[in-house]
Amino acid sequence: MADRPTGLDARLVQDAPIPLNARLRCEPGEVLALVGPSGGGKSTILCAIAGLRNIAEGRISCNGSVWYDSEKRINVATRLRRVGFVFQSYALFPHLSALANVMEGLGSGRNGGSERRARELLELVRLGGLETRRPSELSGGQQQRVAVARALARDPEVLLLDEPFSSVDRATRQRLHRELGHLRGRLRMPIVLVTHDLEEAVQLGDRMSILHHGQTLQEGAPHDIMARPANREVARLIDLKNIFQARIAGQRPGAGITALAWGSTRLEAGYNRRFAVGDLVDWVIPSGSVILHRRRRPSRGIRENPVHGRVESMVRLGDTVIVAVKVDAHAGYPLFMSMPVHAAERNSVAPGERVGVSLVRSDIHIMPALQPDGHDDANADP
């Protein structure tokens, strides 16, 4: 007998009211983070998986059973899909106690078995002792935990979390992140987490799917996406500041180097055989991989992709400072680097000062050019 497919598999396509062209897969026990700007169709995807909204075309299956298939006209009712859904506003039943809310999720009336199970679930989310409280008598974090307990009550085949941490303060959010991390070790179903918070997605997701205008732009492990965005659009969405355009100037597989002509500057990146000499490409580098040359004791690292320019502006964010450097050989947008505040002070980095920086070769990522856009720098947002 063939193995039954496991996990969630969804393909969703429609033009209106919210355009969608999304494909997602989530294995049991895996957290798939759907990330993208608000209004990009993330919540619509969750609602479609739950059967709460109909999608024009597509197919949704979970653990081998088809929940929706536009071609075969299959559309299983929400109440038969066994999804656990944690809504953004939690959507707890306001007239019922925490215990009764969870019992409704168990789908049964008042009987000893379901009450015992509901109490266990509240214990699981560390809400023991608050069973009789109504939602209005609970804090935001506690309400969120009741919502999680209620969602788990159905023993769901898939757990859907719609921005579940957006309505709580930062400290509570961090605590809830830890608790979800702790809880997920005990959950064996696919978990789809919708968030617009990239940090949250990287922290909680085993895989990440970048959505923009309802379209899946890239799917993969969070650190892979962060280091190797598929194109400039993804790079922008994951908040990479240094996005530029260049031409492939040379390929030296033996030395493991692909050379780039960035204006009149020649840069070396890790070897990438996808491109041919002369190809127009986009390239990115994280601001943390732009390294300042020390004035007093220059290191050997200054020979790695050296670039010189003048500090245009500096923005301090806590212990870190983001420095915008106007590159001499390049008239376009500035190059951004981040460094600890003390390092900037020690090296007298200040607006108007000249600086030399190195671009870490292995951290330069080359992508196919999305579209030649007249000027060769994509970055418009310091």
Binding site: A91, H95, E104
Partner: protein, 222 residues
Amino acid sequence: MDWNAFLLSLKLAGWTVAILLPLSVFIARHLAWRRYAGKAFVEAALALPLVLPPTVLGYYLLVGLGRASPIGQLYEGIFGGPLVFTFEGLLIASIIFNLPFAVQPMQRAFENISEEIRDAAACCGMTSWRKLWRIELPLAWPGLMTAFVLTFAHTIGEFGVVLMVGGSIPGETRTAAIAIYDRVQAFDNAAAGAMSALLLVISLIAIGIANLATSRAGARRG
């Protein structure tokens, strides 16, 4: 004091509430949560009894339910007697002229139940009935109570429509409001005063009960 008329009013109000309220729950949910072309027209039609003079409404009901009308003929064909000037005719008229008093407060109450709450109920695996009983009706409770009180009090107090459709047949269609008018016409002010006072007390009690129930429901929800 015309106790018969008084009891008939209570009977009419009781039956109207018993039939109209469940019916209005479905109309109100439909209007609260569905969007479709022509909805504004449906809402306007349902609100008509609020603005039409009762005699105008009564006239149309008299014509619509009369012996020459299809409804009147159908009724007569089945039950062997006319619909107008009977308690049953009065009940149908009462249900129609009370529609906005029952539907509108309920519609507002159902509109206040967020889509996420209803979605959450569906995700809990609830059937439509369970969702209605466990979630929607308890949350819409203040609106239901308001609908109950308005319908009950309005039925007891209605005069124009009742007179047009029912006339003033003792024990059949002479309600307390009609009886009060008759007593005043007969210069029997004592009886008219006693019945008026009783209706006043009943109306006050109904509103008091509704307010109490509504505030308790509010306190329960926090």
